[in-house]
Symmetry: C2
């Protein structure tokens, strides 16, 4: 049992938004980040200096001393980078919602996933404590180890299969990435009318807050759910100079109407 | 000057979500709601009882004693109801983001708009203090009166023209109604995978919180902004049983990619 409570030496492969937030959170909670690798030296250096730890942009210099390698790369960069590293069956973990655990099976006997369900922007500080972390591994003991590691930073750590994690990622794209794009379209349009985006913030906050206590379907308001054709047509006309936003306005309005008038 | 600080007697025409929240907030801050009208007696009764005030579903019984009539009806019900009431040039106000002030000009010499920018669901309590309220009127003195009334319930009261109010309403539909529909689609899909919607709440909250300190465009993350085609195709496939969500997934992803790769 002693070994389990010993500090694990962690090497980060990748130094982007997720790597930055996750490595800082792990280090803050006493985990030992011994090295950071990024193919871009500036990124490696920036994160290495934040963590006050070794950094490199050379695959050959990646430490062989780590007990755990956490890969936080763009999915598209995975194979290229991992195929050049010898992991000697150390525990190798990725953090991606979209990739199954099996993408790691050519690189080590001990593999896992640690997926924090959150949106990470470098310049925005985060409290990891409330971020749900989903864990998967190829053995009971690896899974246990990742749950323990996850629990050092988050109150909410659960095991979840690759298949379910993908489903969660799809939902996260809808509820976060697409939501943020709605904010972007709103800001772009308000800019053209010289109205500051900030006036929307109380509405944005309340829209998020409402689904803590109401089901999203019950929380729906606005012209589309009532199919108030006059307003919808008027809004479409107002968006004449934003043809792409106008098209989305129309298709999302139709979808809202359908959901509230055909299926319930 | 005395008259201005006297309590105005207010009659609400309409007893829906907006009327409920607004009348309660006004009453809580010492304003005198003397009557509630709704064509549905159950709605009139429910709000009348909440406010402990008179209620009616008969247009003939609408009080002639009020100084201010606040119309909170569906836009489509406006003309039918208002054309039957004699307002004797009392101040007549609507609360709609989408209708110009001029829709009231056939019914009184004193008209205005008091538009609280928020999403109202009956079963969800609200703190009006932070809700931006936008005011418009046909005269300086009416405008001043509405600003004062707005300030009894909100710290943020501004004058805004009908044209700008419409623009704001379009943006609110994007940033609230469409956002909530993304939550609905996410929940529907998660349900089919037996994953509880609640796991998304920290992500939903952070997505809203981020745009307090970052511009929405800077806050954008996810596969579409990077145009990670593998993930996008994989997600589209995962949504095969939700053809409508799939279609929106595709068109919103395209719009995100365009915004971040063509215009910046």
């Amino acid at each position: 049992m002693k070994a389990k409570t010993m500090k694990r030496k962690i090497c980060f492969i990748g130094a982007g938004n997720l790597a930055t937030h996750l490595s800082k959170a792990l280090q803050n909670k006493g985990n030992d980040i011994i090295q950071v690798y990024s193919k871009t030296i500036a990124s490696a250096k920036m994160l290495g200096e934040v963590l006050n730890t070794e950094y490199t942009n050379s695959i050959q210099e990646i430490s062989t001393e780590a007990d755990l390698y956490i890969v936080a790369l763009k999915d598209s960069a995975f194979t290229e980078v991992l195929s050049q590293i010898g992991f000697q069956d150390k525990l190798l973990v990725h953090c991606s919602g979209s990739m199954p655990i099996t993408v790691l099976e050519n690189y080590s006997e001990n593999i896992g996933v640690l997926y924090p369900l959150q949106t990470f922007s470098k310049s925005k500080e985060l409290d990891f404590g409330n971020i749900p972390v989903f864990v998967e591994a190829n053995s009971e003991s690896n899974s246990e180890l990742l749950v323990q590691l996850g629990q050092t930073i988050s109150k909410s750590v659960r095991e979840l299969s690759s298949e379910k994690r993908k489903a969660l990622h799809v939902a996260a794209v809808l509820a976060c990435n697409f939501v943020n794009h709605m904010y972007t379209l709103a800001e772009e349009y308000l800019d053209s009318e010289q109205i500051p985006f900030d006036v929307l913030l109380p509405l944005i906050d309340e829209t998020a807050r409402k689904v803590h206590s109401l089901k999203p379907k019950e929380a729906q308001t606005g012209p589309a759910v009532r199919f108030d054709k006059n307003i919808i047509d008027d809004h479409l006309h107002a968006l004449d100079n934003f043809p792409e936003t106008k098209e989305l306005y129309e298709s999302i309005s139709k979808s809202i109407f359908k959901h509230h008038n055909e299926k319930s």
